[in-house]
Amino acid sequence: MNLLEIRNLHAEVEGTEILRGVNLTINVGEVHAIMGPNGSGKSTLAGVLTGRELYTITEGEILYKGKDLLAMTPEDRAREGLFLAFQYPVEVPGVTNAYFLKTALNAIRKYRGLEELDAMDFLKLVRSKLKLVDLDENFLNRAVNDGFSGGEKKRNEIFHMAVLEPTLAILDETDSGLDIDALRIVADGVNSLRKPENAMLVITHYQRLLNYIVPDIVHVLVDGKIVKSGSKELAIELEQRGYDWVRETTEV
C-alpha cells in the first residue's frame, strides 16, 4: 500500500528555490534512503514533510495515507504517525526528557482514542526503550538534549522514535556523530522498530549505515531533485565514484 506520495514538490526558503520538483513514493514496509551532496535539499525535504513553517511550498502535493499532508499541522502529522529524527536535535532547557516525551506520547494516544498512560506505565515503557539505544535512565530527568554530547543527542532521537512508534520515520543523518559502537547500537535499535506496516526514509552521507539498515531503494538528491534511484548497490557505487558521476550521467 502506498503510504507517502510526493508529486512534483517545489519549495523555497526566503525566496530561494531549494526543492525543484521532487517525486517520491514510499510504500508500507519499505526503507528508502536518500543521499546527496551538502545543501542539495535533503533536510529541507524532511522539514517540508513534517510541516516546518520556514518553507513555502510553491508547487506540487504530498499525500500521506491518502490525505493531503500539507494541509495538516505539524502536531497532527505526528499524531498520524510521522516522525523526524532531527539532523540537529534541539536543546530545550528546563524541560525534562521524560516530561516532554510523556506529553507527546499522551497527545498522540489521545488523538488515536487510546487511554493516556499514567506515570507508572509510562516509566515501564520508557525503561525498555532506553535499553534499545543503550541510554542511561538518568537521561529521563535531564533537560531535553541540554548538554548532551552529539552522539547522545542522536541516540535520544531514536529513543523518542522507539517510544512514539511512528508509521513513517524520517532519519536525518542520524549516523553522523556516532562512534562505531553507537552506530551499531542505533542501527540495531532502528531495525528492531521495523515492521511490515511501517516505513522509513533514511537520509545519510555514508554507505556504512546502509550496511546495517538495509534500504529497498536508494535515491540521489542533487540540487533539489531526485536524479537517480536504484537498489542498495547504488549507495556503494556512489561511495566509490562520488556525486560528479551522478551529475555527469544525468541531466539536471
Binding site: 513534517t50 510541516g51 516546518r52 513553517e53 499541522t73 505539524p74 502536531e75 502529522r77 505526528a78 499524531r79 516522525f83 523526524l84 532531527f86 536535535p89 534541539v90 536543546e91 530545550v92 532547557p93 528546563g94 524541560v95 516530561y99 516532554f100 516525551l101 506529553t103 507527546a104 506520547l105 497527545a107 498522540i108 488523538y111 533537560a143 523518542h160 512514539l164
Partner: protein, 436 residues
C-alpha cells in the same frame, strides 16, 4: 470612598489615621516604640510617597496606592478552613497570619525554636529589650518602610537558636480577607537564624479579597555566623491587590542564603531586597521569577552590599510578561573598597509572550575594590521557533508546546527550592496562569 487627587491631602489622611491609630494604641506599654512610630510618621510626612522623578521609582507608577485613601486595617477577618488547606504545603510547619495578625490557634508550635507574633515576643521581653532586636529606625529608609514602622501591628517572629538545624520547613501564610473599603495592611517580620543554625522559611502572600487592598510589608532577617537560610517567597495577591515589600538581610561570616522570590499575582508589586554581607566568605544565591499579564506591574529592586572580602553573590531574575504587563529589574551591586576577591554575578532574562509587554532592566554596579569578579547580563526575547517546532513535530499541540517552553524558561529560576511540594505548587500556579 474618598478620593484625593493631591499629595498633601493623602499625607493629611495618613496623619489623621495615625491619630486614630494612636488612640487605639493608648495602652501600648513601651513608650519607646511609640516614640519610634511618631518619628517614622514625621519622617514619612516630610518625605511623602516616592515620585517617578525618583530614580528608584522611574518605571513604577504607584498612583494606585497614592490616589486614594486606604483605611488602616483594624479587624481580623476569617478564612475558610478549606482555603487554608489549599495554600498549605505538605511536610511543613504552618504559621498563619490573617490581615496582618498572627493567628495562634491556626499556627503550629515548633519544637526548639521561638516562633510567633512579633508583638507578643517583644512584650514578653523585659522593658525596652526589643530595641536590641530591631535595628534603630533609619529615616533614610524608603517611605514605605517608614509608613510600615508607624502603623505595623504584628508580624512573625522566628528565632532559631545557635546550632539548631530545623529539618522541616516553616511555611508562613500571609492572607488578607475580603474588605468592603480599600484597606491597608502593615505586617512586619523579624527572623533571626543563630550561629551554625539552619532553616527553610517559605512565605506565601495571598488574599481572598475581591476588593482593593494595599500591603506594605517589611521583613528583617539576621543570619549568624555559618548559618544557613533557604528562603522562598511566593506573592500571589489578588487582582486588585498592591503589595510593596521591603526585605533586608544581614549575613555574617560564612553564612549562606538561598533565596527564591516568585511573584505571580497582584496589580502592582514592588519588591526591594537588600542583602548586606557583613562578614567574610558569605554566599548568597538569589533567584527571582515574575509572571505578569494584563496590566500587572512587577518591579524588583535588589541591592547586594559586599562589605567584606571573599564573598560570593549570584542573582538570576527571570520575567515572563504577557498582555500589556510591565516588568522592572534594577540590580544594584555595591562593592566596598575592602571587599577584595568579591565574586558577584547578576543575570536578568525576560520572555515576552506579547509585543505589548515591556521590560525595563537596569544593572547598577558600583565597585570600589580592584581585585573582584563582577559580571552582569540581560536578555529579552520571545519563545524560540525552532524549539516550538521540535515539540510540535513530536505531537504536542501548539498551546501546550508554548506552555511547556514557558515553564521550561521559568524552571531555571525555581532551582534552589528544595522542598518539592512548594515547587510543584508554584509550577501549577504558573501553568494555570498560562492557560488563562
Amino acid at each position: 470612598m474618598v478620593t484625593h487627587s493631591n499629595e498633601t491631602n493623602i499625607l493629611q489622611w495618613y496623619k489623621e489615621q495615625f491619630q486614630k491609630f494612636a488612640s487605639r494604641k493608648n495602652g501600648e506599654s513601651e513608650k519607646l516604640r511609640f516614640q519610634e512610630r511618631l518619628t517614622a510618621l514625621d519622617a514619612f510626612l516630610e518625605r511623602g510617597f516616592p515620585h517617578r522623578k525618583d530614580e528608584n521609582w522611574r518605571f513604577t507608577n504607584i498612583q494606585p496606592i497614592t490616589r486614594q485613601c486606604f483605611k488602616i486595617a483594624d479587624r481580623i477577618g476569617s478564612v475558610p478552613e478549606n482555603v487554608l488547606q489549599q495554600h498549605f504545603v505538605e511536610g511543613a510547619y504552618h504559621i498563619v497570619v490573617i490581615d496582618g495578625i498572627v493567628s495562634d490557634t491556626l499556627s503550629d508550635t515548633i519544637p526548639s525554636i521561638t516562633v510567633g507574633s512579633v508583638l507578643r515576643v517583644i512584650n514578653d521581653y523585659k522593658e525596652h529589650s526589643h530595641l536590641q532586636n530591631f535595628k534603630p529606625l533609619d529615616k533614610t529608609n524608603s517611605p514605605f518602610v517608614l509608613l510600615n514602622t508607624a502603623f505595623f501591628v504584628d508580624g512573625v517572629w522566628i528565632e532559631v537558636p545557635d546550632n539548631v538545624e530545623l529539618m522541616q520547613p516553616i511555611q508562613i501564610l500571609f492572607i488578607t480577607t475580603d474588605v468592603d473599603t480599600p484597606t491597608a495592611f502593615f505586617p512586619r517580620n523579624r527572623y533571626s537564624v543563630g550561629k551554625q543554625a539552619s532553616v527553610t522559611i517559605i512565605e506565601k502572600h495571598t488574599s481572598i479579597s475581591l476588593g482593593e487592598y494595599f500591603v506594605d510589608s517589611y521583613t528583617e532577617i539576621n543570619l549568624g555566623e555559618q548559618a544557613s537560610l533557604h528562603y522562598t517567597r511566593l506573592f500571589e495577591e489578588g487582582n486588585r491587590g498592591y503589595h510593596v515589600n521591603t526585605t533586608r538581610i544581614e549575613q555574617h561570616r560564612l553564612s549562606s542564603l538561598t533565596s527564591n522570590v516568585v511573584v505571580l499575582g497582584g496589580a502592582l508589586h514592588r519588591n526591594d531586597f537588600v542583602v548586606s554581607l557583613a562578614g567574610e566568605q558569605c554566599s548568597s544565591e538569589l533567584r527571582g521569577l515574575s509572571f505578569a499579564s494584563g496590566t500587572q506591574l512587577i518591579d524588583h529592586h535588589t541591592l547586594i552590599e559586599h562589605n567584606y572580602p571573599h564573598c560570593k553573590s549570584t542573582q538570576l531574575y527571570k520575567a515572563i510578561l504577557d498582555g500589556k504587563a510591565r516588568g522592572v529589574f534594577n540590580g544594584r551591586i555595591y562593592v566596598h573598597p575592602q571587599a577584595q576577591k568579591t565574586d558577584a554575578q547578576q543575570s536578568n532574562k525576560t520572555l515576552l509572550l506579547c509585543d505589548d509587554a515591556m521590560m525595563h532592566v537596569k544593572p547598577q554596579l558600583e565597585i570600589f575594590a580592584d581585585d573582584v569578579r563582577c559580571t552582569h547580563g540581560a536578555a529579552v526575547g520571545q519563545l524560540d521557533a525552532t524549539q516550538l517546532f521540535y515539540l510540535r513535530s513530536r505531537g504536542v499541540d501548539e498551546v501546550s508546546a508554548r506552555t511547556l517552553l514557558t515553564i521550561g524558561f521559568a524552571n531555571e529560576a525555581l532551582e534552589g527550592i528544595e522542598h518539592l511540594p512548594v515547587r510543584t505548587q508554584i509550577e501549577n500556579v504558573v501553568t494555570r496562569k498560562l492557560e488563562h
